[in-house]
């Protein structure tokens, strides 16, 4: 392969430069803003680290939204990955109509989350929503008031998120399962007849890299969650479902406090950086 040619740079540079312009430049801009008291449309004053101090020590809404986000991330990752794995194991067998099922499970992934949130609004409606209609029919007289109490609202959002992302875990894990070599299983079935042992000692260890990838990707996406709480609960009741991204949005683009919002964004960036650094090397190996 000719390696000295400079032409090869023409292939990769446009993409790299594009991304550089459209992400690094805005990031530098907001790094500067983070050290200013800057309200959109008004003058800016340099205030050192005041924005960061305020966020970390003087802002209960910061910690609230951080807590809400972590709760959503944990619930969403745990539930989607385990449900996805269960479904993948279930479908990993010769089954009539498997292609149809896979197609069916693809559609939620490409449903606009914002639209899904509004749909959730009608599904969880207290009097005439689908969920409570079913609960009424089952004889439950006082089903949860989904949007006016804290935990039901959070659970409703998690449920919608699980609905949307379980198919992702399912499809990826199914692909992972189907890529496992048959020979190992043939040999293993000679030694044991317990499908639990097969799962525990063969499938699970072999599937670990895929499980790892899926969990990481889900975690990264879940940390950005904004659309569903935005449309379904507007962060309410109170700030019970106000995710971190949502809080930044409100601070920067509703209250026009650009400086403080930039500082908040940088804290999120820092958290994401810590998380990604902890698995960076393993992730890098996947792209050998």
């Amino acid at each position: 392969m000719p390696e000295r040619s400079r032409v090869k740079y023409l292939f990769v540079l446009p993409g790299i430069i594009w991304v550089l312009c459209f992400t690094i430049f805005p990031l530098l801009y907001s790094l500067r803003l983070a050290f200013f008291h800057a309200r959109l449309g008004k003058s800016e004053t340099f205030i050192w680290l005041e924005n960061f101090r305020r966020a970390l020590f003087d802002d209960y809404r910061f910690w609230n939204s951080m807590g809400v986000t972590v709760f959503f991330v944990v619930c969403s990752v745990v539930c989607t990955v385990s449900l996805g794995l269960a479904l993948a194991l279930l479908f990993n067998r010769p089954l009539r109509g498997q292609r149809l099922f896979r197609a069916l499970f693809t559609t939620p992934l490409f449903t606009a989350p914002i639209a899904l949130g509004y749909l959730g609004l009608t599904i969880f409606h207290e009097q005439v929503g689908a969920v409570n209609t079913v609960l009424f029919a089952l004889g439950i007289e006082h089903p949860p008031a989904w949007f006016s109490s804290i935990w039901p609202a959070r659970i409703a959002i998690v449920l919608v998120d699980i609905w949307q992302w379980t198919p992702f875990c399912f499809l990826v894990l199914l692909a992972g399962l189907q890529a496992l070599p048959d020979e190992i299983y043939e040999a293993a079935w000679l030694d044991t007849s317990s499908s639990w042992d097969i799962f525990r000692y063969i499938t699970l260890p072999l599937l670990t890299p895929v499980l790892f990838t899926v969990s990481i990707l889900r975690m990264v996406e879940a940390f950005k969650m904004l659309d569903i709480p935005f449309s379904m609960t507007s962060g309410g009741p109170g700030a019970a479902t106000q995710t971190y991204s949502f809080y930044i949005y409100l601070t920067g683009l509703r209250n026009f406090n650009a400086g403080y919002a930039s500082a908040l964004a940088y804290i999120l960036l820092f958290v994401m950086l810590l998380i990604s650094l902890s698995f960076f090397n393993r992730l890098r190996q996947l792209y050998e």
Partner: protein, 284 residues
């Protein structure tokens, strides 16, 4: 490999679980469709799930959507279409080239792996972190409420999908054909356009579909950067609330209009979905 005992009970249990899973997956769609055929008055008074049995379906909501409210919807749809197409075109053009470059050449100064991670890291970046500067820059450039602003944003966010997926696809293509083309005197670009590109065409089309769907569904930046003329469908559906409380019938028709194009389109990319969504880390 599966080696289960297929007893009758086992089979029945399996299909019951499958049935539950499938109904869970399609229920929200079912609910949206059913709701869109309900009389506005009926919706808020009596809960109901089954048409004809529990209520008489009506076409009134759809009729309204396609006559009275059509100007607003059609403008939003055309904005979405233009923005998604434009963003996809940029992301796929640059992404195909970068993906090919990363798959075929070895770079010394920056390693291939590092450049790949550079693209991947874009997906880890919370969009909220760039939203405020983007808003300020677009305001400065006088690009607020234009389709161009959204095209630029969406191209940036979908490019990593294109690069990483296509890198993986090109890696799997045999490179002997291109090498013999080089020997015969073809330039890198000729080999790329005449040999690699046609071979990778189905995968490129699938990557384009994924980029298109993600641009179509993007909400945050669309909300921030547009306020009237360039509003795509995701922002317009956000207007369904708050005017007079939740108008179920309105929500349902409009959501279906917004949801269907990318969801149906995505079905054509079935074969590459897993690979695309995991950035090539898992082969589908």
């Amino acid at each position: 490999m599966y080696q289960g005992r297929s007893t009758l009970i086992g089979k029945i249990a399996l299909w019951v679980v499958i049935l539950i899973a499938v109904s869970w997956a399609i229920f929200p769609f079912y609910w949206a469709i059913v709701t869109s055929f309900k009389q506005p008055g009926v919706i808020m008074t009596t809960p109901s799930l089954v048409p004809w049995l529990q209520f008489t379906p009506t076409l009134a909501n759809w009729n309204d959507e396609f006559t009275q409210r059509w100007p607003e919807i059609s403008r939003a749809l055309s904005n979405s279409l233009i923005v998604s197409t434009g963003a996809t075109a940029i992301a796929i053009t640059l992404g195909t080239m970068a993906g090919y470059g990363l798959a075929r050449f070895r770079f010394r100064r920056w390693k291939n792996k590092d450049m790949t991670m550079w693209f991947l890291s874009q997906r880890f970046l919370p969009p909220m972190a760039t939203a405020i500067p983007f808003f300020l820059v677009m305001k400065f450039l006088n690009l607020l409420d234009t389709q161009l602003a959204l095209i630029l944003v969406n191209a940036t966010f979908t490019m990593p999908f294109a690069v990483l997926t296509l890198r993986d696809v090109f890696k799997e293509l045999p490179k002997e054909m291109e090498e013999s083309a080089w020997v015969d005197g073809a330039s890198h670009f000729q080999a790329f356009f005449r040999i690699a590109l046609p071979l990778a065409a189905p995968a490129i089309a699938a990557a384009a579909v994924i980029c298109f769907a993600f641009s179509w569904n993007e909400f945050l930046f669309a909300l921030i950067l547009t306020y009237r003329n360039a509003q795509p469908i995701t922002v317009v559906i956000a207007g369904v609330e708050h005017t007079q409380g939740v108008q179920f019938w309105f929500v349902a028709t409009r959501l279906l209009i917004a949801i269907l194009p990318p969801a149906l389109l995505a079905l054509t990319a079935q074969r590459y979905i897993v690979r695309g969504l995991t950035f090539g880390a898992v082969k589908g």
